[in-house]
Assembly symmetry: C2
Homo-oligomer: 183 residues x 2
DNA sequence: TTATAATATAATACT
DNA sequence: AGTATTATATTATT
């Protein structure tokens, strides 16, 4: 078997592989840009223009299509990688943001504990886990809150001073920063 | 495949001088599985066993490595796609979470507006944009808040009833849900 | 090693 | 059925 196979391979004729020159490649590429599929008419035209057998034009197109497929895979891969990077970075920013929001809610809760003793609010927002384990509550709208509270509040204007003290206590300065919310 | 070529391939294998047969492929593949790099000693051994010139073994390994590379690219692509999916889903969840936290902070702020009239806290946390435009402030620690406030609060125990009313007003029930935070 | 030409086979579509 | 075209894999050269 060994000598047989050896001879088999030695008897193979040498392939005369001729590279296409730059001009030929250029024309083929520009043709490929317009249509990935080689119409018979186009094949003959290219063969005539380039002095190449139509058969070779077909082969070139086949190989070019195979190459094109791999190129696309790599391009898509890079695009995907970019998407992932931005997604991860945005995720990180959101994590920081939620951390900050939880911290502020904790501060406010401390304030309420201080004001109200034992009956502190249990903010579900400050749970460590991401999954919101609490059922949705019907939340009163801005207008509802305002209309309800305005009448209620008149009786408690004497508290203003104490609240200002509290603001300072928890580190939230009032009316002195350039980040006023629009609401 | 037409019957002519089929017959040629099946019953006249000797005419197919170029392709390696199944047995040869099998041995080469198992060898490639163990090491992607072809040591000279291994090359001679395979050449002897398969009746193939060492040169052909080298070529086969080169081509096999190229194919292996492309295979890996496709595998990596799929893995990346999976990563992106999970990242996007986690991002979405975080967006919901921040939205909820902002809402709660707004509620609390409404409460403070109601209590304190014009001097509402400007929560930087409730800005719509993601970028935190505000400089960091030194925040007082938990212990600081407690120690400062405990002494301060004793004078205001009369406010308890009003705060309980406020809790109900903004929809945050106190002490009646199963989501107590650990702090 | 990379790129690519050339060949071989399998799959598909059209006649 | 046969014929043609294409996609894919493989071999080989530069």
């Amino acid at each position: 078997m060994n000598s047989q196979n050896l001879q088999k391979y030695q008897s193979l004729p040498n392939h005369n592989k001729k590279r296409l020159n730059q001009e030929q490649i250029k024309l083929l590429e520009s043709s490929f840009d317009s249509t990935k599929k080689l119409e018979p008419e186009k094949k003959l035209q290219l063969a005539r223009e380039l002095g190449i057998p139509p058969r070779q034009i077909s082969i070139w197109y086949q190989n070019r299509r195979a190459r094109w497929k791999n190129q696309n895979l790599e391009i898509d891969y890079n695009a995907l990688q970019l998407k992932l990077e931005t997604a991860l970075s945005e995720k990180l920013q959101l994590e920081k943001e939620t951390e900050r929001l939880r911290g502020e809610l904790q501060k406010v809760n401390q304030m309420l504990i201080a004001l109200n003793g034992e009956s502190a609010i249990n903010f579900p927002s400050c749970d460590v886990s991401l999954s919101s384990c609490c059922e949705e509550r019907g939340s009163s709208s801005f207008q509802d809150v305002i209309s309800y509270s305005t009448t209620w509040v008149h009786a408690h204007e004497a508290n203003n001073l104490q609240f200002n003290e509290l603001y300072a206590l928890i580190g939230l300065e009032e009316g002195s920063n350039n980040c006023r919310s629009a609401w």
